[in-house]
């Protein structure tokens, strides 16, 4: 054992020296991409020309990898498109993605690692808790942060942080309003993930708004991340309560299971979800007929027929052999929002991180972006986007507008 500890100390010393050297190199080269640690994508851009450096943080491994990798891939598509079209203000964009494994501490580590790379703007983190933790850092560094999908209310509490997606309270309230005004049901059941910030945030606000909308919540049942395969009890309670509609403020992975289990139970309510449900038709081998009639309030549907969506989805499928979900759409729009704000402000890559942040922050409230998730998206200084959720219904295995 002694030998191991000795060997380990040597390894440790070597690692530390190596990373310190890397640190020196990057600080020495003052912003240009000379960091030894940044291999891979960075190698391409190591020429002397100036670029805007955008960092992406999200879960690329672990249980939530589907969301993080879609964000990273979609942001890359947007960056490649922009660069092919001549870049921004005459400069190219450069992108680097880091993994946070859905862990707030690792998200901060990833942020620091990207800072060493020379990141000037952050697109991330993908999930609420991670985004919130990173926002403490970006606030201290005065780094511009745009989270594609950090939906918790507190994510944008600092003025340097903006988001592309809706906030949780907004989605919960909007869903309840939609169900109320369209008189979809008088008795509603909820199944939500109590261990997930996004899901429990929407559920809480949905219940609060339900009282104003004249329908009754007959069952409100939770599951947790460790217990997300068997939904027989939750469905049974909704069924026993006579729910005509089951509200699912959850992600499509669990929703696809819930739909299948409801079917085997012989329970056929209307299923109503939020943006997390988008992607359910893309689950490989999923029997889409089970989702027939399900409704969701989402800004993005991969099956939409407008040129922008068709183009994006086909490029994504070609490159990554998967159908992108709404996380990816948010990230794609996020890159274009950054582009618009950079153009508006006219700030150049050689300005410091803090100057870029101040200028882009100011420009964010003046731009309007036509993206995948909405047309004419605008932002106010609070960091919230102004866009309206679209309600879509699943009909014959495809999304159609519900209006």
């Amino acid at each position: 054992m002694k030998k191991f500890t000795k060997a380990a100390s040597v390894v440790l010393a070597a690692i530390m020296t190596a990373s310190m050297v890397a640190g020196c190199a990057s600080s020495g080269a003052s912003g240009s991409s000379g960091s030894a640690a940044a291999s891979g994508e960075a190698a391409e851009g190591s020429s002397s020309e100036l670029t805007y450096k955008i960092g992406v943080i999200g879960p690329l491994t672990g249980g939530a990898a589907a969301y993080g990798s879609c964000v990273a891939n979609s942001a890359q598509i947007a960056v490649d498109e922009i660069n092919a079209a001549g870049g921004v203000n005459g400069y190219k964009l450069e992108l680097k993605s880091e993994d946070d494994e859905l862990d707030a501490q690792k998200s901060v580590n990833a942020y620091n690692s990207l800072k060493d790379w020379g990141m000037q703007m952050l697109l991330g983190s993908v999930t609420s808790a991670c985004s919130l933790a990173v926002s403490e850092e970006t606030k201290n560094d005065n780094m511009f942060q745009l989270t594609p999908s950090g939906s918790a209310k507190e994510c944008v509490q600092y003025d340097n942080v903006f988001r592309v997606c809706f906030s949780d309270p907004a989605q919960g309230t909007a869903s309840a309003e939609y169900i109320g005004t369209h008189k979809l049901a008088s008795k509603v059941g909820i199944i939500y993930d109590s261990s997930d910030v996004y899901s429990s945030g929407i559920a809480t606000n949905f219940v609060a708004e339900a009282a104003n909308q004249g329908f009754e919540v007959v069952s409100q049942e939770a599951f947790t991340a460790d217990n997300n395969t068997d939904f027989s009890v939750q469905l049974q309670k909704a069924k026993d309560g006579g729910a005509e509609l089951v509200f699912l403020p959850i992600y499509y992975k669990e929703a696809s299971l819930i739909l299948q289990q409801a079917n085997t139970m012989g329970y056929k309510p209307v299923f109503f979800g939020c943006d997390g449900l988008d992607g359910i038709l893309g689950v490989e081998n999923f029997d889409v007929s089970l989702a027939e009639g399900a409704m969701l309030l989402t800004p993005f549907a991969a099956d939409a027929t407008d040129d922008l969506t068709v183009n994006f989805v086909s490029t994504y499928k070609k490159l990554y052999n998967e159908t992108p979900n709404q996380f990816g759409a948010d990230a794609y729009d996020g890159v274009y929002a950054m582009k618009a704000a950079l153009e508006k402000s006219g700030v150049t890559p050689d300005a410091g991180v803090s100057t870029i942040c101040d200028k882009v922050k100011a420009a964010m409230t003046e731009i309007s972006v036509d993206g995948l998730t909405s047309e004419g998206m605008t932002w106010d200084a609070s960091g919230e986007p102004n866009k309206s959720p679209k309600a879509v219904t699943i009909k014959d295995g495809a999304y159609v507008s519900a209006e």
Binding site: G23, C24, S26, S39, N109, D116, S194
Partner: protein, 355 residues
């Protein structure tokens, strides 16, 4: 003369302190000189708290000889109680005092839970004990995940369903918000505080090992029946080590929660897989070797971070490294071969010397 001068190095625990302090001094100088990458700078505190909890678990696994798979749960207790305390006194107390008191709160509550859980757990043996500690870790995590705690002029409000159920006055403040956990904990921890805590932990554990109590605990590990037959109070000593181990894990939790502004009781922070990860540090560093735990925790926490350049292959490489290192270090056949090799080298040297 020469021997006397370096006699303090003969005690192996002094070497451990020396390594920690030397690393700290070097890093502090480099930090001041701005020569440490911000990535590495951000890793320093997590390295320390995982080293602390690894030492705590080593006390349980290596010295007491009982396998615990629930130490992440004690970390969770320490993190939540101290962060709640800091939330309440955020604007009342100055940073240093607040952190010290939060540390006391976190450690005391982790110790209390260690005692409460120790009562049933220590009656069991071996794998049964392991599974029950795992169960307790999951119970703690599950309950904290569903817990809502608010404070207003009328005092504390607790609910297990939703924040609306708290029924707080308008001046109320939500302290623990269910799945969202605690947000906005003041970042009172820094590298120096973390190193001081690590050294205090090392001193406490090393002194325990070298004390009468420590020898009693190790004798129970080696042969419980023999220890009992010479009149040792087995339950008392087992409990003592277990509580201390839990309290140390709690201290690590305090550092955890005061190094990052958000705290959630979810699997990736406090689940059984985290307990297992800490166990990996302990076993790889050497069961019963306190210094090994510190080094292994630091290296293994750094490894996946430094492999970031490899993107999606990094966890794959980490797992392969783990398997290979385990086999090289522990396989009896390989240890034998290694010793033979060392013998040959030594012989070779001697031959060269005489020739």
């Amino acid at each position: 003369m020469k021997d006397k001068k370096f006699s303090f190095l003969k005690k192996k625990e002094n070497v451990t302190y020396g390594i920690v302090i030397a690393v700290w001094i070097i890093l502090e100088i480099l930090l001041k000189a701005g020569m440490v990458s911000s990535h590495l700078e951000g890793l320093l505190v997590p390295m320390c708290y995982y080293a602390i909890v690894a030492v705590g678990l080593n006390l349980c696994v290596g010295i007491l000889g009982e396998l615990s798979l629930g130490h992440a749960g004690f970390m969770c207790i320490g993190a939540f109680f101290s962060a709640t305390f800091s939330q309440i006194f955020k604007d009342v107390l100055p940073g240093g005092v607040r952190f010290f008191l939060a540390l006391v709160v976190g450690v005391v509550f982790a110790a209390i839970f260690g005692f409460l859980i120790g009562i049933p757990v220590l009656r069991l043996n071996g794998d049964y004990l392991a599974i029950v500690t795992l169960a307790f870790g999951e119970i703690i995590k599950n309950i904290l995940n569903a817990l809502y705690l608010g404070l207003d002029s009328k005092g504390f409000h607790v609910s297990l369903t939703s924040v609306l159920e708290l029924g707080m006055e308008p001046d109320g403040k939500t302290l623990i918000n269910g799945a969202m956990g605690i947000t906005g904990t003041p970042r009172d921890a820094n590298f120096t505080i973390a190193v001081i805590m690590l050294i205090i932990t090392l001193v406490i554990v090393q002194n325990l090992i070298n004390s009468r109590d420590g020898r009693a605990i190790m004798s129970i590990r080696d042969n419980r029946i023999a220890a009992e037959s010479i009149g040792l109070n087995v339950t008392k000593y087992k409990m003592q080590a277990f509580i201390m181990s839990a309290a140390i894990a709690g201290a690590a939790g305090v550092l955890f929660s005061h190094n990052i502004s958000t705290l959630q009781a979810t699997s990736q922070y406090f689940g059984y897989n985290v307990s297992i990860m800490i166990l990996v540090y302990v076993v790889l560093g050497g069961i019963g070797s306190i210094r090994g735990s510190v080094i292994a925790a630091a290296v293994l926490y750094l490894l996946p971070e430094l492999l970031r350049g490899l993107n999606k292959y990094r966890m794959l490489i980490y797992s392969i490294v783990l398997i290979v290192v385990m086999i090289i270090n522990w396989a009896p056949a390989i240890i034998e071969k290694r010793q033979e090799l060392m013998m040959k080298l030594r012989k070779g040297n001697r031959k060269n010397g005489t020739a």
